[in-house]
């Protein structure tokens, strides 16, 4: 039975590429995303064609019991969840306070913070009983710094960061490695940045900052660091890591 790497938020960016990288290393990759069954199936097929094993499932993380049911089903039908990647974003672009609705704020919190809490509540007892597990949490500049227009996103991601800290405080000594990964820059990801900008602007951005300029973070390369973090020996764990393109200004230097 292969150990499972569960990816919550598996688009064509970080989530899908991390799933693929872990599948190459012998994990069964379990990819969850909210929509786009075709895109999900393409990623699962690509992993299988690569010789890996994978499952895809459409999950709306905001719905009650959706995450909890997935965890139970995977443990019953596929194998022990060794690695969890919580990769749901909550970026809605810059919005002034008056343009940030209560609904938008609440949704941000549900995706940014509450979903991780629910996932942790479901997997931590399992991992604790086994004495090991890894929880890799994708996070953002907004977890470190509240930039203008980021009311909903910064609150959600700041909450995510603090939740990671308290999870670490309770579970590190029980063998669960929690990592808060600060993605401090734009990712070359068609499903998130691409959709936010629209195809034309995204292509333009790729041409000016991406491609050979390497100024957009490449998800295939980000996946290498996720894998390294999951493999760190318990004598030498990293709780938090910041990643950005070489040409980008870091959050602490704005």
């Amino acid at each position: 039975m292969k150990p499972v790497c569960l990816v919550v938020g598996a688009g064509a960016g970080i989530g899908g590429n991390v799933a693929r990288r872990f599948a190459q290393q012998g994990y069964h990759a379990y990819l969850c995303r909210r929509s786009d069954l075709d895109g999900l199936n393409r990623m699962v097929d690509a992993i299988k064609n690569d010789g890996g094993s994978a499952t895809g499932f459409l999950v709306n993380a905001i719905e009650a019991n959706s995450i909890e049911e997935r965890v139970a089903a995977i443990e019953a039908d596929i194998g022990p969840i060794e690695v969890v990647v919580y990769n749901l974003g909550a970026q809605i672009g810059d919005r002034a306070l008056k343009d940030t609705s209560l609904k938008a704020f609440e949704t941000g919190w549900r995706l940014g913070t509450f979903g991780l809490f629910r996932l942790a509540s479901a997997v931590c007892p399992l991992m604790e009983a086994r004495g090991k597990g890894t929880i890799l949490v994708t996070s953002a500049t907004a977890a470190m710094r509240g930039n203008g227009g980021q009311h909903s996103h910064a609150a959600a991601m700041g909450g995510r960061r603090m939740l990671c800290q308290t999870l670490n405080a309770e579970f590190a000594s029980k063998g669960i490695h929690v990592v808060h990964i600060v993605i401090d820059g734009a990712v070359d990801a068609p499903d998130t940045l691409g959709k936010m900008l629209g195809p034309e602007k995204f292509q333009q951005l790729r041409e000016t900052r991406g491609n050979e300029h390497d100024g957009l973070m490449l998800p295939t390369q980000i996946a290498e660091t996720y894998l390294h973090l999951a493999r760190q020996h318990r004598s030498t764990w990293t709780f938090e890591i910041d990643l950005r393109a070489f040409s980008d200004r870091p959050w602490w230097n704005h």
């Binding site: 491609n211 295939t220 290498e224 760190q232 318990r234 030498t236 910041d242 950005r244 070489f246 230097n253």
Partner: protein, 260 residues
């Protein structure tokens, strides 16, 4: 997929690593791991004839250099010699703790000013000198498979994160080193040189002759409660191999059971 995804991601055989500050812990682990990964490795220490360094030379072909890294002229000469013997460094690890024996556990009232200054000179000032020489040389390097002209890693300590009591000199030294690393990262990363600050927030227990892992003061490591320098070296190597689209600046390493 962009073009850079397709690049050959194998480590370059031309990698030249220089580790400044050499002892039995992180520096030895790095030297062994870097050599195993095909790099030409140099290691510099005040006393380059320590048995542990001689052993690295014999077992892993590591080149030894005597250098007082708190002296500008000595550091310049060190880099000239490394370039002559091994080639221009592509990976430099500054790994000097810097504390002089008499400064440990001294409160602010009792700390000897000359020892405090020596500690800062040995640690942060030597980091400046090593960083400066590295940057001058690396900016002329050609980008490697990861788009980088070189990597500069500063080993740091818990004192970089918080000022402990009875440790004022070391707190100054470590926070100065962090500030230097941040500044260098801002200046050099856009030029293709990866700079990383790595505070080790723990006692480091290295493997002794009897196979146990232990720290001089903290005793024997039980259940991986001390950082294993061989594992620290793995993270240093990963930092060096990060693609330039995705560079980490600060990585804190601590054992799973460490409180913080």
């Amino acid at each position: 997929m962009s073009q850079s995804d397709q690049r050959n991601a194998q480590p370059s055989e031309q990698d030249v690593a220089l580790i400044v500050g050499g002892g039995p812990g992180i520096s030895s682990s790095c030297a062994r791991l870097f050599a195993k990964n095909g790099m030409r490795v140099g290691i510099a220490a005040r006393n380059a004839d320590k048995p542990v360094l001689l052993n690295l030379e014999n077992t892993h072909g590591v080149r030894r250099y005597a250098c007082d890294a708190s002296e500008a002229g000595a550091v310049e000469l060190l880099f000239q010699n490394v370039v002559r013997d091994l080639g221009t460094p592509t990976l430099v690890v500054h790994n000097i703790d810097g504390r002089v024996a008499g400064i440990f556990r001294k409160g602010i009232i009792d700390a000897d000013p000359a020892m405090a200054l020596d500690t800062v000179r040995n640690s942060a000032f030597s980091a400046f000198l090593v960083g400066q020489q590295s940057a001058r040389l690396m900016r002329e390097n050609k980008p490697n498979a990861y788009g980088a002209k070189g990597t500069i890693i500063f080993t740091n300590a818990s004192a970089a994160l918080k000022g402990f009591s009875f440790s004022g000199a070391f707190a100054m030294a470590c926070q100065a080193k962090s500030g230097l690393a941040q500044s260098m990262a801002r200046e050099l990363m856009p030029q293709g040189i990866h700079v990383a600050n790595v505070p080790i927030d723990a006692a480091i227990g290295w493997t002794q002759e009897d196979g146990t892992r232990a720290h001089r003061l903290a005793g024997i490591s039980i259940d991986d409660n001390m950082a294993d320098p061989d594992c620290i070296a793995e993270t240093y190597l990963q930092l060096h191999r990060q693609h330039r689209s995705t560079w980490a600046f600060e990585v804190v390493l601590r054992p799973w059971v460490e409180r913080w």
